[in-house]
Amino acid sequence: MAWLMKNSGGMNIERRPEAYLDDALKAELEKTVLPHYPTRRAATLPVLHAVQDKHGWLPYQALEEVAEFLGLSPSEVCDTASFYEMFHLRPVGRHIIWVCQSISCELRGEHDIVTKIQEKLGIETGETTLDGKFTLMHAECLGSCGSAPCCLVDDKLHEDLTVENIDRILDSVK
């Protein structure tokens, strides 16, 4: 679980003048998401997804804006956001590679795939390449155990990985 690791006492919040959750996005969410739920708080996950899809990660300022939009305190939004693996509270690369490390994938050679990616990109798991293109992450079971080993590159699943095809897959990412 992605516990929030910042020391909030001395935290220096970087701010920018323009909003992450801008008026256009707010209006859209108000129309397409909020009517689905009896409380505004229930829209937390969809709203966080929407902001992250647009910006790539969730800076603290964005969490504050989400809180204001949903009528919550920033700590409530922070509490939720920090619980989930897919919400990034720190900057990540333009593309995220999630390699499944759970048992069916490990049984079918996940170690070799991870080693290959690490060598190719020159990073350890959890790190981002210097050009900011890729972040490599470990994932637990991606629900594709029958075509193990597998990985997600952003929202696209790649199955039956081998050290050869992972090379091509990464090369094809723009």
């Binding site: 009896p38 619980f83 919400f87 759970s102 049984l107 079971c141 629900g143 155990c145 029958g146 696209k156």
Partner: protein, 452 residues
């Protein structure tokens, strides 16, 4: 005897009936053209209670892991009071070895939508949320696509063929998770749906009484709901002609294992994948007749019957039948999701245990101390044993920790702790020699070994 024809895989080409290469998204027209939504059309001619009674009589048991009878769950709802009541569909599928719901969401989501509509009618639920795990990007898109078609064809929304429920037109929405196994636990799911961290709730109250937003809520797995349409169309006897009934002399109150089941095969087999068979098919049949045998010509060593929480089957338990009694007869936790993970003779069981302990340590939500600390300790000890630095005392301690985690009522809130307990304990017990040979003799006095 093998299943005569596919039920859940009717429109999803699956061996032996079809070639997975021919799989495609089944849209509304194709679904209806092949008998889809007939179960729903039948259901709405029946009184809600009749539908519940029918599902009860079919003895359909939940396909999400716990095997709770679906009709019985539906009958726990309090009387209607005109306020909202919810259905939450569990499409969080995150248990390692489990990838069966994904097949339905990818190719035939209308089958699940039909079950959702039937359940909403039977239980008088006006709003449904399909909670799909965040990593299922493609599946969220196919489900949304099917849902849009269903709205356009008046399955849900204004003018729905269900009519108004508690004076509201029935609605159904996709709700995406964001990466947390624990949100598959039914009350973790509810917390997550409400916009909070997915911390399971203390029960009671059970969701049927106070669930989502404090209102009565039914939670069912994707496959459980997908089974409802075919049951309505073909009837109880048809459903009970599949699977495994009670043995002779078993009282009718004892739960049985009727119906077909999606079985996910992964690990060291030649043709892994999701297949459909009778409940009660043996691990051996699945491996030899469906998966083309063990890979690389190797021998069978072990299998996990239904997602890693269930514990392990030993080498001599190769012919164990995959039914809801497997837990009692083969000292494991149960059938779980029937996501079978197969391991060949070269598999290092210490690594397997280490991998599994890491999963639970990582996914424990952290609110109960025995689970949060216990899973972490087990992972550290297994890492040490794997590296060759363990002692036989570590093994005793490992069994003691795993044997007490989740076993003591009231010390842990949800089933994750039990899952971790069974997984580690059965692997160590059933492959004791392998673990022992990896450890040094300890100098101290050994703790009593806690049996399985």
């Amino acid at each position: 005897m093998a299943l005569k024809e596919p039920v859940l895989c009717k429109r999803i080409p699956t061996p032996p009936w079809g070639d997975p290469k021919d799989r495609h998204y089944v849209g509304y027209d194709e679904f209806v053209g092949t008998g889809g939504y007939e179960g729903l059309r039948k259901a709405i001619t029946m009184a809600p209670k009749e539908v519940i009674d029918l599902v009860k009589a079919s003895e359909l048991r939940g396909r999400g892991g716990a095997g709770f009878p679906a009709g019985l769950k539906w009958s726990f709802l309090p009387p209607e009071d005109g306020k909202p009541r919810y259905l939450t569909v569990n499409a969080d599928e995150s248990e390692p070895g489990t990838f069966k719901d994904r097949l339905l969401l990818d190719f035939d989501p209308h089958l699940m939508l039909e079950g959702i509509a039937i359940c909403m009618h039977a239980c008088r639920l006006d709003t449904a949320y399909i909670y799909i795990r965040g990593e299922y990007h493609h599946q969220a898109r196919t489900t949304q696509r099917a849902l849009d078609e269903a709205y356009a064809n008046k399955i849900f929304g204004e003018g729905s063929i269900l009519g108004k429920i508690a004076d509201r037109w029935p609605q159904c929405y996709v709700h995406r998770g964001a990466g947390a196994y624990i949100c598959g636990e039914e009350t973790g799911l509810l917390e997550s749906l409400e916009g909070k961290r997915g911390w399971p709730r203390i029960k009671p109250p059970f969701p049927a009484v106070a669930g989502a937003f404090g209102r009565p809520t039914i939670i069912n797995n994707v496959e459980t709901l997908a089974m409802c349409g075919p049951i309505l169309v073909n009837g109880v006897d048809w459903f009970k002609s599949m699977g495994k009934g009670r043995g002779e002399g078993v009282p009718p109150s004892a739960p049985a294992s009727f119906g077909p089941k999606l079985i996910g095969m992964s690990g060291h087999v030649n043709r892994p994948g999701v297949y459909e068979e009778h409940l009660g098919v043996t691990v051996k049949t699945m491996i030899e007749d469906y998966c083309g045998g063990m890979w690389k010509g190797r021998k069978f060593k072990a299998a996990i019957p239904g997602g890693i929480s269930m514990g392990v089957l030993a080498t001599h338990e190769y012919e164990a039948p995959l039914d809801f009694d497997i837990g009692k007869r083969y000292s494991c936790l149960g059938l779980g999701t029937a996501g079978v993970i197969v391991m060949d003779e070269t598999t290092d069981m210490v690594s397997v245990a280490r991998n599994i302990a890491r999963f639970f340590a990582h996914e424990s939500c952290g609110q109960c101390t025995p689970c949060r600390e216990g899973t972490g300790w087990m992972y550290q000890m297994l890492t040490r044993i794997e590296a060759g630095d363990g002692t036989t005392r570590d093994l005793d301690l490992l069994l003691e920790i795993s044997g007490s985690m989740g076993a003591m009522p009231g010390t842990t809130i949800c089933g994750l702790a039990d899952g971790a307990n069974w997984a580690v304990r059965t692997i160590v017990n059933k492959f004791w020699d392998e673990f022992e040979s990896r450890c040094h003799k300890s100098a101290g006095v050994s703790l009593a070994v806690v049996g399985s």
